[in-house]
Amino acid sequence: MAEQKLKGYQVGTFVVGNRLLEPEQRSVQARMERSNTLTSGHRACRGCGEALGARYTLDAAMRATDGKLIAANATGCLEVFSTPYPESSWQLPWIHSLFGNAPAVAAGVAAALKAKGREDVRVVGQAGDGGTVDIGFACLSGMFERNDDVLFVCYDNEGYMNTGVQRSGATPPAARTANTKPVGPEPGNVFGQGKNVPLIAMAHEIPYVATATVAEPRDLEQKVERAMELRGARYIHVFVPCPLGWGAASEDTILLARLVKETGLFPVFEAEHGEVVSVSKIRRRVEVVEYLKLQRRYAHLFGPEPNTDVIARLQAGADRNIERFGLLGESGGEG
């Protein structure tokens, strides 16, 4: 009988199969008692990364808090697809107020719970990248600065998808959106200075900051669990591909989320009190082209005459992340 090498993960994914883990380490999603916080029947697009991210995040937070959780949601895709009147997909107390105020609403909820002596009930604020890095940014920074007892989660799909795919402060350079079309001398989004909210959150020296992608849901769950062990302002920035907005195949959501990390374009790390404490190493480095080619928002870079200058600039950005965060080399622990 031929010898077969035992693999701890599913083929091509690096994700360890649940069955091979100790019961305590298994995903919240694999448990009978999972809370289905964002339950089925919502109206998200096929392959929606945000729905996946929100489900893993909130179910993990529900488990960590024994179901004593309140969510404050910004306006956006997540709010719209989950609460088409008279239906709601939320199986936890959930409030939507405005686009730009979710961090402040969450802070208000936390203050109320503190005043009432109900600090056993915890608060999660959540928004897309528009509601976090742009219109909600002042409220977010205020919440961080006050160190309010809120976990704020940004589901970053790199644009205003709910309004029809316009550019946000989180849209990457060169990407096509509805208002950065591939027309004119500089097609796609401009090369700006970027707005790295995880680093900005770290500059507030809040207890916990982490990034994650929906390609590694166990990693995301563990970060949520870690965040819920702590008090004060905490921030998790989750990379969530958007098939509709990016012009990507629905079945490539996980692949894109994996590639964005493996290219170095999206560093996955954890920080406590302003210091990076762990980095998820790149397992098998890939060039940014492999990631870009799967998305029609970058199609204008390819074709008969590829825009090699722009591709090189994007690669340089990934390389800088790899250098800056030390994304190559042996993993120090969980990766």
């Binding site: 609460t83 008279p86 936890l92 109320a112 005043a115």
Partner: protein, 419 residues
């Protein structure tokens, strides 16, 4: 107990006795003394349990109140002027969600040109935001109205704005009768939320509502405000029973029963108006005054009943609809539709310009002689020569410069000379 207090301190004491559980505020003149005093009370433990959130903007202040109120806490904030505009989006959200937040508005002008002094352009700009708007005439009434406001807000699950004239009331020292905490506790029951974020009974607040039900939700907002027209006098009556003095209500008439001329106004200017009414009464003039204490909901029937017997109505208001005319004036006309009375719209006191007895005497003399034009907006004490000069300058065309700076230079204000 009688005390000599600054208006802001009186209001802060009053708020503290109402036991808010969350206060979220951002400083803006002339609201600052109120929230500073409340911060002291929270920090010293005089007011507890209470969380005071020092937020980064008025938008965040109202947003935090929304979260706190939805989580079942009694929530309070205070602001003025630009701050009210900065929280405008959240104001509509609080009322749309039906959250019983109470806010003090220290009435102040809106820029440009930037101006920190009193008028009503801030509250009038948000008159249709779905908030109940109560206007205090005195510091005593400001103090009392806050106690009533929490009860009103929580009974109907609607937000209430208590408007008090910035500086004129907030910074004025007056004698006030301060109730005891026990009296307030007896009058104001603990907050029992009508909707609440509660893990033991999860619900969704703030869902998207399309054309199939939006009208009905908005109808209910209106219906609650209409219900407030009954609740406000009842709550004011209860207050009088409990505290032994009359405060609040929908409107208040002063020597208006047989009046041929009635002056209508909101807020602290009523005191000056009533002094002039007294003078004219001594001369045998049948003149009176009506204070609108509650502008939203608009007490149309009460205003009509109070004004129906008068030949002429002089509406003095501290704000106006640019390009349209008086705001209170339009509402008064609505109440008087079908009647023969003449309504004169007078805008006064903009940006803190004093409304003096002398000016009012002259104005009322013109009104009594029907030398004012009904349907046209009159500006009390307008410096017409200054306006004419600027209009002339504009006719010259070209880059004539900003009006405000030109006018200040014309007036020869110190330091306004070109360098």
């Amino acid at each position: 107990m009688l005390e000599q207090l600054e208006g802001s301190q009186a209001v802060a004491h009053s708020i503290a006795m109402c036991r808010p559980e969350v206060i979220a505020a951002y400083p803006i003149s002339p609201q600052t003394h109120i929230v500073e005093a409340l911060s002291d009370k929270v920090r010293t433990g005089e007011l507890q349990p209470c969380e005071y959130l020092m937020v980064e903007s008025e938008f965040a202040a109202m947003s935090a109140c929304i979260g706190a109120s939805a989580a079942g806490a009694r929530a309070y904030t205070a602001t003025a002027s630009q701050g009210l505009l900065y929280m405008a989006e959240a104001l509509y959200n609080a009322s749309g969600l039906g959250l019983p937040i109470v806010m003090t508005l220290a009435n102040r002008a809106i820029g440009a040109p930037i101006n920190i002094w009193n008028d009503h352009s801030d509250s009038m700009s948000q008159r249709d935001s779905g908030w109940i708007q109560l206007y205090a005439e005195t510091n005593q009434e400001a103090l009392d109205l806050h106690i009533q406001a929490f009860r009103l807000a929580e009974e109907l699950s609607v937000p209430v704005m208590v408007c008090m004239d910035g500086f004129i009331l907030t910074h004025a020292y007056e004698q006030v009768d301060m109730p005891t905490p026990e009296q307030v506790d007896d009058y104001l029951p603990p907050f029992e939320p009508q909707q609440m974020l509660d893990p033991s009974a999860p619900l969704t607040i703030g869902a998207m509502v399309g054309p199939e039900a939006f009208t009905e939700v908005k109808y209910l907002m209106h219906a609650k405000q209409v219900a407030a027209l009954d609740a406000i006098p009842a709550i004011a009556d209860d207050f009088e029973q409990a505290f032994g003095r009359s405060s609040g209500g929908l409107i208040r008439s002063y020597r208006a029963e047989d009046a041929e001329t009635i002056v209508v106004a909101l807020g602290s200017v009523l005191g000056t108006i009533e002094d002039v009414v007294d003078e004219l009464r001594e001369q045998g003039v049948k003149i009176g005054a009506v204070a609108i204490k509650c502008f939203r909901p608009y007490p149309l029937e009460e205003v009509r009943d109070a004004l129906a017997g008068a030949e002429r109505i002089v509406v003095i208001e501290k704000a106006f609809a640019v390009g349209a005319g008086g705001i209170v004036g339009q509402n008064v006309r609505l109440a008087l539709s079908g009647l023969e009375s003449r309504v004169y719209d007078v805008v006064a006191g903009l940006g803190g310009r004093p409304i003096t007895k002398k000016s009012l005497r002259a104005l009322f003399a013109d009104a009594l002689g029907d030398r004012l034009e009904s349907g046209r907006l009159h500006f009390l004490d307008l410096k017409r020569d200054v306006v004419e000069r600027e209009l002339e300058r504009m006719q010259g065309g070209g880059r004539h410069g900003p009006h405000a700076e030109n006018i200040i230079r014309d007036l020869g204000i110190v330091g306004a000379e070109p360098h």
